[in-house]
């Protein structure tokens, strides 16, 4: 532990502090001046006296005659910058002396830093590109829309671009480090992307491979179940990503399981992203600014999961004016509102979504004594405050839940008031059972631009996933009414603090470093019994599983280096440590991404990533259930580790139109699964002893043709892959197909703009069926001599795990959006049909006995159950104002 900490500190202080901070001591010294105007020589002399630092300069330095300081207190550098505002000078510290030397502006390097934002709303544009055509240098904005680009001084022309926005050219006469804000105008519909004289920075120039950026506008156009646009289901249409089961929101990336995905909402992990058991996800696209999925070539800043990172960033809120939207659909209604609270300083964004069948049900009078209801809701809120030009604060909150309740035992009861014999009171009983699950995610972040080279972000966050079951039951006993509340809950709760630092070096490197600590609390299942008698006697009892703690520490260092104009490398190391019980695990994970530009529009990329995962999900079924338990590694169960390598070729056909071919190979060690004959539901033995660890291998080829903008947009993707696992205690030690190993998988999404006010879209997915374990033999199984009677029957035997393949899957969905300006704003009517041609895809297979009514003959057959066997229409009305 001590050694690891030493290494961490060594990284930070050698890489960053040693590089920058030590050389800035004299210039950063704060002084107070009494003389605020005069010639350069007078003010330099005064500054020298006040600071007790020798200021040395030659007669070649330009010395303006009239300078006015705009404040009396500041760093020496601040006052020197004011004195030499119109000159090109350089400061060099030597001993206790600052030497001021003139430089030719064209030879001196400055940092152009700042933000790229939406012209109309002020929203930061994440991943926007910035390029200096003369220097042939470029960069892109970070997750807060910030960039810093070192360039030689003088006249420069900066090109800025972002998908869905007009490319802008900014002319600057650079004489010093400059903080600017670039505003890009959203592109009107149907307008083609303008092509500049030289290609701007784009996906092909990025060093990482296996990264998918999905424009949110495209996500909203994808036909969706019940008209609910869904980020995760959009991702399932990309190569390398499997959905698990039709209609569900599981993510299975390159042979990995659903718990191997790091789902980040504004930098905070979310542990359950599902509503209605996975038919919908918790992410409301109306509040999403940027979505990225990384399935290989992981930058060093990410860790903790093996298969993918889904990075979702939400809107800050419109800086100019209040706007919002309301939407009414078959399943749910939603609203969003955002705008400035304090113009230029503070913005807010709030949105909510809720299903309403339960409300409709309640509104309809009925005399049923029992009733059941279901709803889910999401609530997103974000507050962004600009403290200074260099400091911003963000507070984000997500809360969402599914709630199933049933009421029963409805009756009137009459009882005497306590301590009296004659006063009677009548009250109504309506006992209920409430089952639900949900997440609460809260984060606070502070951005600080230390100087033109250093951008820092401090994050503190809280993430809580909880499944709960509450039962209220009334009982008449011993002449007294009592109320019993039985509660069960399970889940996981994280408290995290982390610091991330971006360092933009003079050489054009972008160095990122960070350190973070997470305190995990695992709640494997706790029962609380509360008893309340009408005589006011109360008692609470808690029993069941104990809370399990885990402490996770991580640190990383990565560098994005442009080695030559054509060769760019992103390399780094991610280190982590997990302490559980008496054991501490640690890992060092090297990461390497390299990009070679063959031509300005064709690149080759290669990557290597090692990943470690310390927590895992104990699952019970082929679909994700909210009762599944997140559990940590233990003294017996070691962390899962994976390494992956990939190579890709990318061709930028047009600025918005890419063709990518990628091959990958991944190996995973210490995969965790239940042993043969062991089961989630077996609570008669220790959960740890039921698990076993094994090995997984996955490899494949992925092709993607993606057009992000234009009248025709969309993508077509194809995956050829194979994923195999092997465990000593499963399948007699023989390798078997991973749960979502599908050999072929292809998906097409097309969207066509009919006019600025109308678009139509379609998706079509086709692929091999997923593997399934089927019993292929059965045999007599009597009641055991010590068992309860009447259990005699048969037992089933499956020869091999996942040895069968479900029938081929395919489905087509279509949708259309019709927009119209109305008095209140713009209304959109979205209509569509899911499963247009009524394909019956297999959800699960089962055996069934069939009895011939005429002959009485019994036959047995294998059947498939299809989830959405008929075309399902949807309609949604949205009003934006």
């Amino acid at each position: 532990m001590t050694n690891l900490l030493k290494i961490i500190f060594l990284f930070f202080f050698l890489a960053l502090a040693g590089h920058q901070a030590a050389s800035q001591q004299l210039l950063d010294r704060i002084v107070e001046v009494s003389k605020t105007s005069g010639s350069a020589e007078q003010l330099l002399l005064h500054l020298e006296e006040q600071s007790e630092v020798v200021l040395s300069y030659s007669n070649q330095v330009c010395l303006p005659n009239r300078i006015i300081f705009n404040k009396q207190k500041g760093s020496i550098k601040f006052f020197l910058d004011q004195i030499f505002e119109t000159c090109q000078v350089e400061y060099i510290e030597r001993n206790n002396k600052i030497v001021i030397i003139p430089v030719k502006s064209g030879n001196r390097e400055f940092h152009i830093n700042g933000y790229i934002i939406d012209h109309d709303t002020g929203e930061p544009l994440i991943g926007a590109n910035l390029f200096d055509f003369h220097a042939n240098k470029g960069t892109s904005t970070n997750n807060f829309g910030y960039f810093s680009l070192p360039l030689n001084g003088g006249q420069i022309t900066l090109g800025s671009s972002y998908i869905g926005y007009n490319t802008s050219l900014t002319q600057l006469n650079v004489k010093r480090d400059t903080l600017i804000t670039i505003r890009l105008k959203p592109m009107p519909a149907l307008q083609e992307i303008s092509v500049l004289g030289k290609p701007i920075m784009s996906d092909i120039q990025r060093s990482g491979s296996g990264i998918i950026d999905i424009p949110v506008a495209q996500i909203k156009n994808i036909p969706s179940f019940m008209g609910e646009p869904d980020i995760i289901k959009a991702m399932q249409l990309f190569p390398g990503i499997q959905s698990g089961n039709e209609g569900f929101s599981g993510l299975y990336v390159r042979g990995g399981s659903s718990d191997q995905n790091l789902i980040l909402l504004d930098d905070v992990p979310v542990y359950n992203m599902e509503h209605l058991l996975g038919l919908f996800t918790i992410f409301n696209p109306d509040v999403v600014n940027k979505v990225s999925l990384i399935k290989g070539g992981f930058p060093a800043q990410y860790g903790g999961r093996l298969s993918s990172v889904v990075d979702i960033r939400t809107y800050d809120g419109n800086q100019q004016q209040l706007n919002g939207s309301v939407g009414i659909g078959i399943l749910s209604s939603k609203f969003s509102l955002n705008g400035p609270l304090w113009k230029g300083r503070t913005t807010f964004s709030i949105s909510g979504r809720r299903t309403y069948y339960d409300l409709i049900q309640k509104a309809i009078p009925n005399d049923r004594l029992t009733s059941g209801s279901y709803f889910f809701y999401d609530l997103n809120a974000k507050l962004t405050h600009t403290l200074t030009r260099k400091d911003r604060l963000y507070v984000s909150i997500y809360n969402g839940s599914d709630d199933v309740s049933s009421k029963y035992n409805f009756k009137d009861i009459t009882q005497s008031i306590i301590n009296t014999d004659y006063d009677l009171t009548t009250s109504q009983l309506n006992d209920e059972v409430v089952t639900g699950w949900g997440n609460t995610v809260v984060s606070g972040r502070w951005n600080h631009i230390v100087n033109e080279k250093i951008f820092t972000n401090l994050t503190t966050s809280f993430s809580d996933y909880r499944f709960y079951n509450q039962q209220q039951q009334s009982n008449y006993q011993n002449n007294d009414w009592s109320t019993i509340n039985l509660e069960y809950f399970s889940g996981i709760r994280d408290f995290t603090a982390k610091v991330d630092i971006d360092y933009y070096s003079s050489q054009g490197n972008t160095l990122k470093a960070g350190v973070g600590f997470t305190r995990h609390q695992f709640y494997p299942g706790i029962n609380v019994v509360k008893t309340e008698l009408s005589s006011n006697e109360k008692r609470d009892t808690t029993y069941g599983g104990q809370i399990i703690m885990g402490n996770e520490l991580h640190a990383y260092l990565q560098d994005d280096i442009t080695l030559t104009p054509t060769l760019k490398v992103n390399t780094g190391i991610h280190m982590s440590m997990f302490q559980t019980g008496k054991r501490t695990y640690h890992s060092i994970e090297p990461r390497l991404n390299a990009r070679l530009l063959l031509t300005p529009t064709v690149s080759l990329k290669a990557s290597y990533s090692a990943m470690t995962q310390y927590i895992h999900l104990l699952s019970s079924a082929m679909v994700s259930l909210p009762t599944d338990l997140w559990m940590p590694v233990t003294e017996q169960i070691e962390p899962m580790k994976a390494w992956q390598t990939s190579m890709s070729a990318e061709w930028q056909i047009r600025p918005e139109f890419n063709l990518t071919a990628e091959v990958y190979y991944k190996e995973t060690n210490n995969l965790i699964d239940y042993k043969d004959n062991q089961n989630y539901f077996d609570t008669s033995s220790d959960w740890i002893s039921k698990l076993t660890s094994g090995f997984g291998r996955s490899y494949g080829l992925e092709l993607l043709l993606h057009r992000k903008m234009g009248d025709w947009s969309g993508w077509v993707g194809y995956t050829l892959s194979k994923s195999v696992n092997r465990f000593d205690d499963i399948n007699q030690g023989n390798p078997f197909r991973a749960n979502n190993d599908r050999r072929h998988d292809a998906a097409l999404f097309l969207s066509y703009l009919l006019s600025p006010n109308a678009d139509i879209s379609m998706t079509w997915a086709i692929g091999s069926g997923k593997p399934v374990t089927l019993a292929d033999e059965k045999y007599f199984a009597p009641s055991l001599p010590t068992a309860s009677p009447n259990t005699s029957g048969y037992a089933e035997h499956y020869s091999e795990r996942n040895s069968y393949t479900m029938p081929i899957y395919h489905r087509m969905d279509i949708g259309a959006n019709f927009r119209k300006k109305i008095k209140l704003g713009e209304r959109t009517i979205s209509v569509g049909i899911m499963n247009v041609y009524g394909r019956q895809n297999a959800f699960f297979l089962f055996y069934a006995d069939n009895i011939n009514k005429n002959t009485g003959e019994v036959t047995r057959s294998l059947k498939q159950f299809s989830l959405f066997p008929i075309p399902l229409p949807y309609v949604r009305y949205t009003l934006k104002f």
């Binding site: 039985l486 009762t627 043969d676 004959n677 045999y779 007599f780 035997h797 047995r860």
Partner: protein
Amino acid sequence: MTNITHRILPILMGAILWGGCEKEIDFDLKSSAGKPVVYAFMQPDSAVTISVTKSVSTLTPSNFAPIDNATIHFYKNGTLHRVLSYNGAQQWNNYPTLRFAGGDTVAITLFENEKEIAVAGTYIPHPVQIEKIDTFSETRIGDDGFWAAHINLGLTIDEPAETNDYYQLQIIQTTKTQTSSGTTVQTDTLTLPQTDNQIFNTNQTSVSLTDIDFEGLFTDANINGKQHRIRLSFNATQFRKPTTAHSRQLDIRLYRLSEAYYNYYKAQIIATALNGLSIFDPVEIPTNVSNGYGLVTGYATSSIIFDIQ
């Protein structure tokens, strides 16, 4: 199956079944039917009962196929003990004269048409006696949250140290009622309260999630070689004497099982609980019959019977 999962699954099913449908499909299943299936349960000094059948394809309506012309070789402590022919027309064959003692190691080899088709073996355990029973009653809040009178049973056993042991505890209530047509006898196997954390693992992960009744199965993992008092606390209503009853007895049985018996039993309970829920993978029942299925096992019983008022 489970309280909570039963509440979750209807949501899933309700959400998906409204538009779902099923249809028959053609599927090429591997044909590996025809394997021997052997069951033999042996208690010390008791007659041996054996069932030998053959497995069938899952698509076959019947649950098994009979075996013809089978003989069974019994080995006791490594030596051939008896050779018996098996009547395949009967599902169970009883061999009253074939008995083994506690501590014996038994192996059987099954022949069909003089060809060896299966081998299995087991150990006949000695019973572990219930050394002492103590009872007391109290009124307290039970696990269901209600105040109720409870009857607490303490069963003291001396757990053998030298072996990993597997047990089943069973309490059977027998009620005799005099009616006009004679005496009727009713027996009920009581559901055991999971009040002994040490043997029922009630503090472990997810224990509260499920309410599968494992019918008193437990291991000596936490009590190996110790004298242990098994604590059971019953709601007294379970013992309420019917007004017409004239006598009641409690039969407390402690079965000492083989590991194979324990694992088979547990898997069978889970398979039964998940039967019909196709979103779960099928549960494989373990076997100790090589080249076949079934269970050849010894077990031993100790029992205490007493009248209750």
